[in-house]
């Protein structure tokens, strides 16, 4: 049978009325999980496994497995739709993959364009969902073969490229951005080293053994920092929020977003395929790329719609891409897919090379249901935009306590420790002081994500090569990434030497 035939059979399964219902419930819960900070897709899916197991207990094993994985996957990609909501409205990222959305999304909301930002992220997510599914159908096998070829050297060079691109997140001063990058890298070294198992900078405090939680730091720096900022700089800020003129994006918005959505989707999909890279990285890469390709990069961070459309498409596409190594190799690429894999194993279905042969109904049923689920999400989310956009009109005196409460509950629900609450407070104060003095916090957050990955993969690669640094140059993919990284840094400098005006690298 051809791929199309399999897909048609998959739709046959996905269109069974109970599976439509499962997909619908999945995406509704997913949207809620995404909107509520604290419950991420990972815990959302994990919490629902026992529930779906009970509901499907009367069905034959194979059908039960298909139905529950349809629901659970719905939660997974549904959460990616909802994740942007609090980032845009409250500057409070609910998931680590929507941290970067705060940069322009929140600025858009302050200019009265919250509706446009929310709508474009729903539209972008939908396009990304469809693009990544088409990729999943057509490219699953060849891509999984490329993904496993990705060794430590390739990962290292890719991450290094990400770090080189940090200039894209710089505000007025490159020097300050670099300082924040180094600070982020240093924070990333805290904890037990995964390569040797040795504790670093933990001062024998067990709470530090697992390192600092990325989400705590991001929420503190962005959300609480903004709260303190709003209170202290109130005189200037009063009345800064414009009235919402329209809910839906303008024609110009759509035009500006079309290319970033496509670029974000492709980028997100390919990064999602790599085990261990994930949606957070995809959204960062997309933002940086958009800024680099933009005709007026100085408008980023001030409410450029491309800065919302790109990353939101990317994180959604990444969740589709991450299904490839899971389904074809049995290798989970992220925490959430690991839990999905656990759910499949529970039904005695082993994801891996044999899945498409042994259980075509489950594999193709799932893929077909994801097309339907994405459509449901778009229909579901567009009316919600109207409701959510009103949130921004809430007076400050009510809004600020709500943001503080959401930040605290959100962080506590993820970490269950009071240490993280104090860390959150500390980061809030730091976030205020840093942004007051024009130190950009985004490079710090990016470095915190990339640092440990760069380090571990570099050490793995060097072990393989017996300490020869040439491994990074002799592997073609790795070399390609390094060249792009070098060009990224050098080209603007050369242009500057030639006297051309370059905005990004300007010394503040």
């Amino acid at each position: 049978m051809s791929t199309l035939q399999f897909l048609a059979d998959g739709f046959g399964i996905a269109f069974q009325w109970h599976n439509l219902l499962f997909a619908f419930v999945g995406v509704i819960i997913g949207t809620a999980v995404g909107v509520l900070p604290g419950i991420g897709p990972m815990s959302g899916v994990a919490l629902l496994i026992p529930v779906t197991a009970t509901i499907t207990s009367g069905m034959p094993t194979s059908a039960a497995a298909a139905s529950s994985i349809i629901l659970l996957a719905g939660v997974y990609y549904g959460a990616m739709y909802g994740g942007s909501t609090t980032s845009i409205l409250l500057n409070t990222p609910g998931e680590s993959s929507s941290v970067v959305t705060t940069l322009d999304g929140y600025q858009m909301a302050r200019q009265g364009r919250a509706g446009a930002a929310l709508a474009i992220s729903a539209i972008g997510s939908f396009c990304a969902g469809v693009i990544s599914l088409i990729g999943l159908v057509l490219l699953a096998q060849p891509l999984s073969n490329v993904a496993i070829k990705f060794g430590p050297a390739e990962y290292f060079s890719l991450m290094l490229l990400g770090l080189a691109a940090v200039s894209g997140l710089a505000g007025k001063s490159m020097t300050k951005a670099l300082m924040m990058t180094v600070f982020g890298l240093m924070l990333g070294t805290i904890g037990i080293d995964a390569v040797s198992g040795i504790a670093r900078f933990t001062y024998n405090q067990p709470i530090l053994f697992s390192g600092l939680e990325f989400l705590t730091i991001a929420v503190g720096l962005f959300a609480l920092g903004e709260v303190f900022n709003t209170i202290l700089e109130r005189d200037k800020e009063d009345g800064a929020i414009a009235k919402i003129n329209r809910i839906l994006p303008t024609k110009q918005d759509m035009k500006d977003s079309a290319v970033p959505i496509v670029r974000g989707s492709l980028l997100g999909f390919f990064i999602g395929v790599l085990p261990g890279a994930g949606a957070t990285l995809a959204s960062f890469f997309s933002y940086i790329t958009e800024k680099k390709f933009s005709k007026n990069p100085e408008s980023f961070g001030k409410g450029n719609i491309a800065g919302v459309a790109g990353p939101e498409s990317a994180n959604n596409a990444a969740s589709g891409g991450a299904m490839i190594p899971l389904l074809t190799l049995g290798i989970p690429g992220s925490g959430t897919t690991a839990i999905l894999m656990g759910a499949l194993i529970m039904y005695n279905v082993q994801p891996g090379p044999l899945l498409f042969d042994e259980h075509p109904d489950i594999a193709w049923g799932l893929i077909a249901s994801m097309f339907i689920g994405n459509l449901m999400l778009l229909v579901l989310n567009m009316p919600l935009v109207r409701v959510f956009a009103k949130v921004i009109q809430t007076p400050k005196k009510y809004l600020l306590p709500i943001i503080i409460a959401i930040s605290f509950f959100g962080v506590y629900a993820v970490q269950y420790t009071t240490f993280d609450l104090y860390l959150l407070l500390g980061c809030g104060v730091a976030g205020y002081l840093l942004s007051k003095n024009d130190y950009p916090v985004a490079p710090l957050v990016l470095a915190l994500v990339l640092g440990p990955m760069i380090e571990n993969n570099m050490r793995r690669a060097l072990t393989i090569s017996n300490g020869e640094f040439s491994i990074f140059f002799t592997k073609p993919l790795s070399l390609a990434f390094l060249i792009v990284a070098a060009l990224w840094l050098l080209v603007p400098m050369l242009l500057k030497l030639k006297g051309r005006s370059v905005i990004v690298e300007d010394e503040g």
């Binding site: 109130r234 891996g352 393989i464």
Partner: protein, 339 residues
């Protein structure tokens, strides 16, 4: 200006009080566990990524317990990866010390991490309440299906010729279980185990990906988790560390002994409670686990995962751990890696 300061003070008060009240909450929860155990959902932690041996064991327990209705509260599995299990061990032995609702699935690393010199974990089995041993598994030496290495001897000869030419990978840090399983044959073959090139990944799944992608020549992993990949024809298992041949997919695979290597390594897996677990809770679990291992659901799980059943109750398990602890110290000493 005054008004501004008051607002800041109020906001900080609100924030601090939120921090404080959740502190009370978590402590209160830990202490109020006395009579009617269990009163809430129970978490079994697998201190690794999903798909590895600990993870599968934890999920098998959770599944059997809920299917047989032995425990009516839901049993949830959480993955807490890092440092070959040492990261979560520290949390378990300190933060969760009195929490009756968090259990841990562990295997020899609980002894190894506590005894090795580098990357030592200050916490060992003595910082837990051993509840039961449930299964045993063995280590396996695995290569890609199209590898030039046909037998374990081929690998060892290649290492002997040029140790730098062979990359051995595993899902845990140097000095931990995958590493020990991998270098044990080399040591017994008369090679210096320190020269064997070992790369650690975050969990067995990533190690398999490295093998399939050609980023590792040989991996050491659990015999039970490799079956599925062998069935699909992607990998070849060269030898297992059991005393006799295993069943299932691995019937054709020779033991270390058959390959002329006089060594064995048993990967037992058991479930632990926190050190200061209440007696009510530990008695409850001893009883439930003893019941569970007799059920058909549990036996089906064993069959499915290719594990061999080996049940020891809390007392026997503790004695066994004491013996094993000595064995591990001997092995590490021989490898020059002891504390």
């Amino acid at each position: 200006m005054w008004k501004k300061l008051t607002t800041v003070a109020l906001a900080s008060m609100l924030a601090l009080s939120l921090a404080a009240c959740s502190a009370d909450e978590s402590e209160g929860k830990a202490e109020s566990t006395t009579s009617k155990y269990p009163e809430s959902n129970i978490t079994i932690v697998a201190p690794s990524g999903a798909g590895g041996g600990w993870d599968l064991t934890a999920r098998a327990i959770a599944k059997s317990m809920s299917e047989t209705k032995l425990i009516d509260k839901s049993v949830v599995v959480e993955n807490k990866p890092g440092g070959g299990g040492a990261v979560y061990m520290a949390e378990f032995a300190t933060k969760e010390i009195k929490n009756d609702y968090v259990l841990l699935v562990k295997s020899p690393p609980i002894l190894i991490n506590n005894n090795k010199a580098e990357g030592n974990s200050p916490y060992g089995y003595k910082d837990t309440t051993p509840l039961a041993q449930l299964t045993r598994d063995y280590g396996a030496i695995v290569v890609k299906a199209d590898s030039e290495f046909k037998t374990l001897k081929d690998v060892l000869e290649a290492i002997k010729k040029d140790a730098k030419s062979v990359t051995l990978a595993g899902g845990s840090a140097p000095g931990s279980m995958d590493h020990l399983v991998g270098v044990l044959p080399a040591f017994e073959y008369g090679l210096d185990p320190k020269t064997v090139k070992y790369v650690s990944y975050d969990g067995g799944g990533e190690a398999v990906a490295a093998l399939l992608g050609g980023n590792a020549d040989v991996i050491a992993t659990d015999a039970s988790t490799i079956g599925a990949y062998m069935k699909s024809g992607d990998v070849r298992v060269l030898a297992v560390s059991a005393s006799e041949r295993l069943g299932g997919e691995l019937t054709e695979v020779p033991t270390f002994k058959e390959e002329g290597i006089d060594a064995e390594f048993t990967i037992w897996r058991g479930i632990f409670g926190p050190k200061e677990m209440s007696e009510t809770a530990s008695d409850y679990w001893s009883e439930k686990l003893a019941e569970m291992v007799e059920t058909d659901e549990w036996k089906a799980e064993l069959e499915k995962n290719g594990w061999e059943s080996e049940y020891r109750n809390a007392d026997d398990f503790t004695t066994y751990l004491e013996e094993q602890d000595k064995v591990i110290v001997e092995l590490l000493t021989a490898l020059g890696m002891q504390k």
